[in-house]
Subunit: 223 residues, 2 copies
């Protein structure tokens, strides 16, 4: 990657947002908390399957579909549609991880351009960053809905580069997900893997250019 990327592009779900409160949304409706992780993995599985087959459907639609499959047969405290709505509503109430505001401000203060690129909708990114008081640090909030293909397809990263008027090599993708790091690296971007939990990086995926324990650590490494 470029020694000093001019544009830093952040994944949103789990990278900026803390998704752990989604488990409470499941228990709220009478479902086991552990279904939250299964649901999110299944949502990405299905979205990536569509991408691999040449299709693209909105993130929220795939998420709702997955809940209908997963909550069928669970002894819910309300009807299925209301339970699905309650879980989906959790997405727009998430907060950022504690390291995000300081890390973002330091990166922005260093003169870098900051954008987001999500497989979800920009409205969720907008609510998340506004709630954290850091919306003004970002030049643009991008969604793959305007790219025609979900990350980790090359098409999604090239859309972001084109929109920012830069080459992929001038961008740094920041994500907690190895699949995002891998896709960005294959598309020619520099990559930073945020590992807040101390997990091993999977051998199957292209390794990141940088590893950091959070965004303040990343900002220090790039200073």
């Amino acid at each position: 990657m470029s020694a000093s990327p001019s544009v830093v592009v952040f994944d949103v779900n789990e990278t900026l947002s803390d998704m752990s409160p989604m488990a409470q949304r499941f228990t709220d409706v009478g479902a086991p908390a552990h279904l939250a992780k299964l649901w999110f993995a299944s949502l990405l599985r299905d979205g990536f399957a569509l991408t691999a087959a040449g299709g693209a459907r909105p993130f929220a639609e795939v998420g709702v579909d997955g809940l209908h499959t997963l909550l069928r047969g669970v002894d819910l405290d309300r009807d299925l549609d209301a339970a699905v709505d309650h879980v989906m509503g959790g997405f727009s109430r998430l907060a950022v991880h504690p390291d995000v505001p300081d890390g973002i401000r330091t990166l922005r203060a260093s003169g870098r351009r900051l954008v987001t690129l999500t497989n979800g909708s920009t409205s969720v990114s907008e609510a998340l960053l506004t709630g954290a008081g850091i919306r003004d640090q970002f030049e643009a909030l991008l969604s793959v809905e305007d790219a025609g293909a979900w990350k980790p397809s090359r098409v999604a990263y090239e859309y972001a580069a084109r929109t920012c008027g830069t080459d992929p090599a001038g961008m740094l993708l920041v994500a907690v997900h190895p699949w995002d790091v891998d896709g960005a690296a294959r598309a020619g971007l520099g990559t930073a893997w945020i590992d807040r939990a101390g997990t091993p990086y999977p051998r199957s995926f292209t390794p990141p250019s940088l590893r950091a324990t959070g965004l303040t650590d990343l900002a220090e490494q790039l200073s």
Copy 2:
């Protein structure tokens, strides 16, 4: 699809094999049983991500990677590598669903050519079908490892059609997974969705040409 497909191509994991004993493999090593489903969804998520990004790694490698991530931090009764081996070993001990032997024999007796196409290795398919006494009903056991891309990429289905010397339109893909039905339909195959549990078919995916409650039901519909 063709009114009478000449080649029927079966998915293997969960479509022919009953994967529910994998949960016991997790409890054997001291991990919660519910991790089995999360692991398999994550394995497919990561494999499909690689496919969407233009890569391809062996199924078992992606599976082992996923276990290293998932079992980290779990209070196991043995060391991590031994636990990973024990879970992975479960794949080659699975049995077929009860409806499989009769359904397969009836379909074969009707003069159709039967093959399998798995994202896994052919050795797992070989052990599964030999154990069930129906290996001789199949003309070939195919793996995407020879196609260069996992299902649901079009490349995988086209590989199967080419290997069988037929057009995609002359083939019927049989699977329990909507993502497999969707990918096969996009590649021009007829599709049969096996729904043993009565779950809703997701709106995000291309609907199947046929729906059946098991392979005996499918064989009746095709007779």
